[in-house]
């Protein structure tokens, strides 16, 4: 243990005296710290803004004067998705999907059809989130710091001198490994502090702990990969070139390939194509604004029979309101059907891409990180579904007001100057307040189990590789 500690300390001393490694570590720490601070401030501001706008939107809806209820259907309402506390570290798909939806009658306005493929690979260079730094840049920093940790000793002949002091190969490798992991942990420190802050601001402690442990495992994996290649290689240049190739493959290419493969296996139509398909189906339903549309003849007949009257003017309800409600129900079913197909396609794509975590630890940590932070695709879909449920509920409530609070005769004469086709503003009080809550910690932990297993798999594989490489360490 003493020799291991000495080797670890000497590695640190070497980095300190040769300056390059300390500069690299310093840049890594400063970059992560700056990114954490900037993102924390931004997310905090975004959370406050969205909370504020949610309240403003609700109160504006409620403050609307006496109006025709269908005008309120089109006046609409906004819902905002408050960022999860950990999104300051891992923005996940939020950066690509949007976080607010305008809710109105007959439409599902949302970013439902955002392309999940945009969230991986080189395109992510545009955002320097702490998660991105940890997932992509920290491995590169660890390579720069540690690529020569064993090859340097081989080239200088000091490895054999170390071994002839009675030091075991295992102690040399452990000392170097701890030094490397230590450099990664320094960069992880700002992220760990941000996670503690997230706990303070309401995130589950189980989640924040799991989140940090996940990144800790990722650092262990990259520490082991760097050490393995350095042990396996006989020259510093070979070690550096091999590690850069591995970094490109594991951090850039495989994540990119994973999304492209997923998109090829589960092809999904583009937005225009999908919109035309939806429109085609909606046309078959009839125009809900036009109560005389033949599509509603059967509804009219059933209603007249039910109330035993011959004219819609004699119905105890406003037929135009009934048509609006009926039409909204049919239309929503079609919209939901298309939305569910689309979301299922996106989830299938994401699941295929996530299996590439067995080929790249970067894919594993990315999935794990988004799952734990609650910024994954499924959470976004839950937001869309909850927003849609709210939309349907308040639109149908307004249609209900239309049926019962505005008589048919007034309604059909609404454009005459002497007719006031309005209902009392007190009827707008049908709006439920919207608050999107993250899933409980245990549920997120359960969801990310497979991806924590992927990380553990990588830990075991890389440690076995080191053990294997240590056999030819002295050659």
């Amino acid at each position: 243990m003493n020799a291991t500690k000495q080797i670890m300390l000497d590695e640190w001393r070497y980095w300190q005296r040769t300056k390059l490694a300390t500069t690299v570590i310093f840049i890594g720490v400063v970059l992560t710290l700056a990114s954490v601070v900037v993102n924390t401030i931004e997310v905090r501001q975004a959370a406050d803004e969205r909370k504020h706008f949610q309240q403003v939107s609700e109160s504006r809806f409620l403050e609307q004067p006496d109006r025709h209820p269908h005008r309120m259907v089109h006046y609409g309402h906004y819902v905002f998705r408050a960022p999860s506390p950990l999104s300051m570290i891992e923005p996940g798909v939020d950066a690509y999907t949007g976080t607010s939806i305008f809710l109105e009658g007959h439409r599902q306005n949302s970013a439902t059809f955002a392309d999940q493929r945009q969230s991986s690979g080189l395109t992510r260079f545009s955002s320097l989130s702490p998660a991105f730094l940890m997932q992509v840049l920290v491995p590169l920093l660890m390579i720069l710091v540690g690529y020569a940790c064993i090859t340097r000793e081989k080239e200088a002949g000091t490895l054999n001198i170390m071994l002839t002091q009675g030091v075991k190969k295992r102690e040399v490798l452990t000392g170097k490994f701890l030094a490397l992991v230590g450099s990664g942990l320094l960069v992880l420190l700002p992220l760990a502090l941000a996670s503690i802050w997230a706990s303070v601001t309401g995130e589950s402690i189980i989640v924040t702990t799991g989140f940090v442990v996940g990144y800790f495992l990722y650092i262990l994996i990259w520490g082991a990969i760097v050490l393995w290649v350095s042990t396996f290689s006989s020259r510093k240049n070979t070690s550096f070139a091999s590690l850069i190739c591995l970094w490109i493959a594991l951090c850039i290419l495989i994540p990119r390939i994973s999304s492209s493969t997923a998109a090829s296996i589960v092809p999904s139509p583009g937005k225009l194509e999908a919109d035309f398909a939806v429109l085609e189906e909606l046309r078959k339903l009839g125009d809900g604004h036009n109560a005389s549309d033949p599509a509603f003849n059967q509804l009219k007949a059933n209603l007249l029979a039910k109330h035993n009257v011959n004219d819609i003017a004699d119905l105890p309800v406003n037929f135009r309101g009934v048509v609006a409600e009926y039409s909204e129900e049919k239309l929503t079913k079609v919209l939901n059907q298309f939305a569910e197909i689309r979301m299922q396609e996106e989830v299938s794509q994401a699941e295929i891409a996530r299996h590439f975590g067995w080929l790249s630890p970067t894919v594993s940590i990315r999935t794990f990180s988004m799952m734990m932070a609650g910024t994954n695709l499924e959470t976004h879909h839950r937001f869309l579904r909850e927003a849609e449920a709210l939309r349907y509920e308040f639109i149908q409530s307004l249609n209900h007001v239309h049926q019962h609070k505005l008589d048919y005769h007034t309604d059909i004469n609404r454009y005459r100057d002497d007719v006031v086709a309005r209902v009392d503003a007190g009827n707008w009080n049908i709006l439920s307040s919207f608050s999107f809550e993250p899933q409980p910690g245990m549920a997120r932990l359960h969801q990310s189990l497979l991806y924590s297993l992927q990380l553990l798999f990588w830990c075991i594989v890389t440690l076995l590789l080191i053990k294997r490489a240590s056999r030819r360490m002295e050659q």
Binding site: N2, A3, Q6, I7, D10, R13, Y14, R17, T18, A156, G157, T158, N160, I161, M162, L163, T164, Q165, G166, V167, K168, E474, Q475
Partner: protein, 240 residues
Amino acid sequence: MPDQVVAASSLCVKLAQNDVIDNLNFTIGRGEVFALLGGNGAGKSTTLKTFLGAVSPSSGTASVMGLSVDADINTIRSKVAYLPESVMLYGHLTGIENIEYFLSLAGIKQAQPEIEEALTKVSLQTDAWHKNLSHYSKGMRQKTAIALALLREAPVLLLDEPTSGLDPRAIDEFNQLITTLANSGSTIFMVTHDVYGACQVAHRIGLLDKGKIVGMFERKNNAHIDIEEVHAAFSQGKIK
């Protein structure tokens, strides 16, 4: 010479299906300097690496102080001091820091006066003690490594081409140092292609060619091994 400290018995080493060491037999006693002399590719360094456990014998045995390299390499390593052909140690550390570090790896804590005494013994000039090793010449680095061996009280020294690249004065100093160490009981096994240096310092010289010992020379009546005799072996084509 007394008891066997280093021994090779029917030692064979194959690397990439080639016989690099072929049925090697020799012993080195306590306080003896044994030089294995040979040209490039004769198998000298491979022989040395076998005793360090860096290369495994394909058959036969290599042992140090009665311990087989196959079974007790960690114990053997703790008893030998190894000087590679190009002793680098750590360029970012001073001579004293290098010694302190390697001693700490061996579990030895030496006070600075003892380290300074060892450096004086190997004639390393005092103004160099606190300079980084990156400023040392090869001879100075070698002296530092020998000082380390002295402080570790390693009973066996394995030297790989120790005089290669040294100037004549440094070679003389090194030879004197080796003789002193041997006289104090250290067993020294060196591999070299320096005929003159080997004759100056070794008690016995084994001529190695294609992994086999093709000639053995030893001191007679305490006189140095006759360089003419060894040289003749080269010129007769025994050593290429």
